[in-house]
């Protein structure tokens, strides 16, 4: 039975769910080019979301029940939208044309990285504290088949496991779904594969974007991403970062595509559908981790700036606002609806919807001591330290961020004329603008006293695929 469950789950997450989402996106007839990317991203969001919903509504059921109910919606959708299914298969023909232009050396290097990670999963245990906690939590969910214990600031089992966070259950939900119905060893391995698939699809997404934007085959973005030490360690140790990066990147692409195709008319059906999709992407970002709210802030910030500036000449301020405000409202509402139960639970237990260490009583009680402890241990006591030893790590710590940011600066210098003269809505200029807004936000947040970005460099990783994309777009010039 274990192997039947495994096959059903592999089919679901890698084929049926993405295919049905793809068919749905095609049926909406909105003009988007990266349906294949969104379909996989939303599959990784929807499956744990369904599973967690089922655990809330029908707890304590047999594993087979949950496996079946997480596949039925996708199969139904696929049957309903069957005529669009062939478009999904057509997308794989693109791989054929990519394969023709492939650089064998880069391709083998890419395969080597994947092989190394797989070998690591087979040979090595989990090492990081965070992944250990997420996997233990997923193990609890899988054993208990209920989630009423989450969140809690006292031990939830006799092993003293504490779950004091306000993060929704997206990532542990995915891992728990990965374990569902499988034996311990295979379940854990499949959960690791699910976690790694996010990095893998992110690397593929970068290849697809570069292929569609430049019509040239380009491996650089994905190679730079996979070889960045922090991303590699994230993949090997099954950290949550891969999911944060993937969802951030999908949201970035959605905003880009909308702005490129923006219509002058005030809200009509396609815009509404588009913003529902965008809101869903933000919602899943938050569902995976509370820091997903950053995706919303950055993407909406960039969208607002470009939308308002671009449309200024073409419509009056009043008409513009009339279009802009309902769109923002709709996106926000969709996002909140996806995580509303998790937010309610967090608020009920902690009195807050966004908090991490602040929920822990002893840290609150000894807050001054802990502040000094965290500041000194991370070397970020003063504002200057926060920048020098925190955020500037992107340049100073090659062992964390690799050489990506050096190449990024070089590519900026090389393309300075292009940035000045060209339209902002090219993938290159838009990516640079996105990176600029992200770091502007990081700088202001740090000055305002938010220490998150200086505290842990992993929070700066969300923008990393976009930085890799910028570098890859300029790689030819860099060689010259």
């Amino acid at each position: 039975m274990t192997y039947i469950y495994l096959i059903i789950k592999i089919l679901n997450i890698f084929f049926i769910a993405p295919a049905s989402i793809y068919a749905f996106l095609c049926s909406t007839q909105i003009k988007i080019r990266y349906n294949i990317i969104y379909s996989y991203v939303f599959a990784f969001g929807l499956i744990p979301w369904f599973y967690i919903l089922l655990l809330r509504v029908f707890p304590y059921q047999h594993s087979g029940f949950y496996i079946l109910l997480t596949i039925i919606p996708f199969v139904s959708l696929l049957v309903l939208k069957a005529k669009f299914f062939r478009f999904f298969l057509n997308e794989f023909c693109m791989l054929k044309s990519i394969a023709k232009k492939i650089n064998k050396f880069s391709f083998f290097c890419f395969l080597f990285m994947i092989f190394f990670i797989m070998l690591w999963f087979l040979k090595k245990p989990l090492l990081g504290n965070d992944p250990l906690q997420y996997f233990y939590l997923s193990n609890l969910i899988d054993n208990l088949k209920e989630i009423s214990f989450y969140p809690s600031t006292t031990a939830v089992d006799e092993r003293g496991f504490v779950v004091p966070w306000s993060h929704p259950l997206g990532y542990p939900g995915l891992l728990a779904w990965g374990r569902l119905g499988l034996s311990k060893d295979i379940g854990l391995f499949f959960a690791k594969i699910c976690s790694f698939s996010m990095t893998f699809f992110l690397a593929l997404a970068l290849i697809i974007v570069l292929y569609k934007e430049t019509t040239r085959f380009n491996f650089w973005a994905s190679l730079l991403l996979l070889t960045t030490p922090l991303c590699l360690s994230g993949a090997l140790e099954c950290h949550i970062d891969s999911s944060r990066m993937l969802l951030f990147f999908a949201s970035f692409l959605l905003v880009y595509e909308y702005l490129k195709n923006v219509s002058e008319k005030i809200i009509f059906q396609k815009d509404v559908i588009y913003f529902l999709i965008l809101g869903t992407s933000f919602g899943f970002s938050w569902f995976y981790h509370s820091s997903g709210i950053l995706t919303y802030v950055i993407c909406m910030g960039v969208f607002s700036i470009i939308f308002l500036l671009n449309q200024r000449k073409e419509m009056s301020f009043y008409v513009m606002l009339k279009k802009y405000i309902p769109l923002i409202f709709l996106t926000t509402l969709t996002m909140v609806l996806i995580v509303c139960v998790d937010l309610y639970n967090s608020f009920k237990v902690h009195g807050k919807i966004l908090a991490d260490l602040e929920n822990i009583k002893i840290i609150n009680f000894m807050s001054d001591e802990y502040k000094m402890y965290f500041d000194l241990s991370r070397g970020i006591k003063t504002l200057c330290d926060k920048f020098v030893f925190g955020i500037f790590k992107i340049f100073t710590e090659i062992s964390i961020f690799g050489i990506v940011y050096f190449l990024f600066i070089i590519s900026l210098f090389l393309s300075i004329k292009m940035i000045k003269t060209n339209n902002i809505l090219t993938i290159y200029n838009f990516s640079i603008f996105f990176v600029f807004i992200f770091y502007l936000f990081v700088v202001f947040a740090t000055i305002a006293g938010v220490g998150t970005f200086a505290f842990n460099p992993r929070y700066l990783l969300q923008i990393h695929p976009i930085v890799c994309l910028v570098v890859a777009l300029q790689m030819k010039r860099i060689w010259r």
Binding site: L223, I363, G379, W479
Partner: protein, 413 residues
């Protein structure tokens, strides 16, 4: 040329990222139950600690930060971040409900800014029973026995200012530089009987600013990386009373402080020694060399690896009865052409370990004071590697093979 540069860059990028993990192959050693995250044996990095806790049969433990992995043990745990921890701030005696306290290298404020600090740094209130890999286990003394320990004062003086850090050291006269191997004199070190010691270190440190100080205790005779203790101290501006505890042998050691950016002054630096009653095994009774067979024509030079080569067509079963302290690494490797070639041309253990990582069937077993029987199948035309791992408590692997048998068998055995 550009193509060559491109290829070189890709190579560098890939191996730069992966290199760190390849290094960890040696550090984290091997395991057999690698797929099972909630089986304690999977966490082989902590295997020794798990094995120790199992041997001691503790029931309830209070665990400080970074003890997340202990959720995989059989203990009933209270984690530091549990709301119930706040009770200790009112009544520290509640800690006696637990059998032990498990700490780690994260020196949280609760560790040094509450009365917990008094409990873990006094002989009559607790005893340090495990100290390895930065993890310490303090057994709580529920009866108030008075313990007589010997105390020695040491002078600490500044030796260097390097890379924005101030360095301070004991035994300055005998050992002026960290980079040169000293003339060994033990003039300033107390003469102690052979055995194992539970040491408590008390000191006063005056800091000009809030600062972070790395405090390490190093084996006297080695000049790098042979640490007995590595602690991070968080100091507030002004006078700080610091206590810390560690296990060591009677061999001399030195204490090194390094303070980033800000100078400090260390006063009344005193170490108390208390001899442990635990029986440890004689270091010289190590594995019986008569059983070791070097690989034919092998170029492997190591005094910690033993090899058994099965040249037969049948399976062989090795059966050993081991006692000691530490971990044993077991691995079998099929002797096909490639492996034979690599083994013959490998010039150190590290390369062999990489070979075993990709090809071998490996496992790590933790050995404690109770005798443990190990069985391992050696397939036909294979080689068995057996390595005893060292730590600061046993410079040579501290094991005794009490009994060893090699049994012929078939594949079905």
């Amino acid at each position: 040329m550009i193509r060559f540069l491109k290829k070189s860059l890709i190579f560098i990028l890939i191996f730069y990222g992966i290199f760190y993990y390849i290094l960890q192959i040696d550090y984290f050693s091997f395991n057999d139950l690698r797929l099972n995250d909630f089986n304690k044996k999977d966490q082989n990095y902590f295997l020794k600690l798990f094995s120790f806790l199992e041997e001691r049969n503790y029931k309830k433990a209070f665990v400080l930060r970074d003890g997340e992995f202990l959720t995989y043990s059989n203990l009933n745990i209270q984690h530091i971040f549990d709301d119930k921890t706040i009770d200790f701030t009112n009544d520290i005696n509640k800690i006696y409900d637990f059998d032990c306290i498990i700490s780690n290298h994260y020196n949280d404020p609760i560790f040094y800014k509450t009365k917990l600090n008094d409990i873990i740094n006094q002989y009559d209130k607790s005893s340090l029973v495990f100290d390895d890999l930065g993890y310490k286990v303090f057994e709580l003394n529920k009866t108030n026995n008075t313990i007589n320990s010997e105390g020695f004062k040491f002078d600490v003086s500044e030796i260097d200012f390097l890379k924005n850090s101030y360095f301070y050291l004991t035994h300055k006269n005998e050992y002026p530089s960290l980079l040169a191997k000293p003339d060994i004199k033990y003039d300033e070190f107390p003469i102690l009987e052979d055995g194992f010691y539970d040491c408590i270190c008390d000191m006063e440190i005056i800091a000009n600013e809030d600062s972070i100080v790395l405090f390490s205790i190093l084996n006297y005779e080695s000049y790098r990386n042979n640490y007995i203790l590595k602690d991070t101290l968080y100091l507030k501006k002004g006078k700080n009373n610091i206590s810390t505890r560690f296990l060591t042998t009677s061999k001399p050691f030195r204490c090194l402080f390094s303070s980033k950016k800000h100078p400090i002054s260390i006063e009344n630096f005193k170490i108390n020694f208390y001899k442990k009653e635990n029986k440890f095994y004689d270091l010289n009774q190590i594995y019986p060399k008569t059983y070791s067979m070097l690989f034919d024509g092998g170029n492997i030079k190591s005094n910690t690896l033993i090899f058994f080569q099965n040249k037969d067509k049948n399976f062989k079963l090795i059966n050993m009865d081991l006692v000691g302290d530490g971990e044993v690494f077991l691995s079998t490797l099929n002797l096909n052409g490639i492996n034979k070639f690599l083994l013959k041309n490998s010039f150190n253990n590290f390369l062999i370990k990489i070979l075993l990582f990709f090809n071998g069937d490996s496992s790590v077993l933790s050995i404690g004071q109770k005798s443990k029987i190990i069985e391992k199948n050696i397939p036909p035309n294979s080689i068995l590697f057996l390595q005893f791992k060292k730590n600061h408590m046993n410079e040579n692997a501290n094991f005794v093979i009490q009994n060893i048998k090699i049994i012929n068998g078939s594949e079905n055995d």
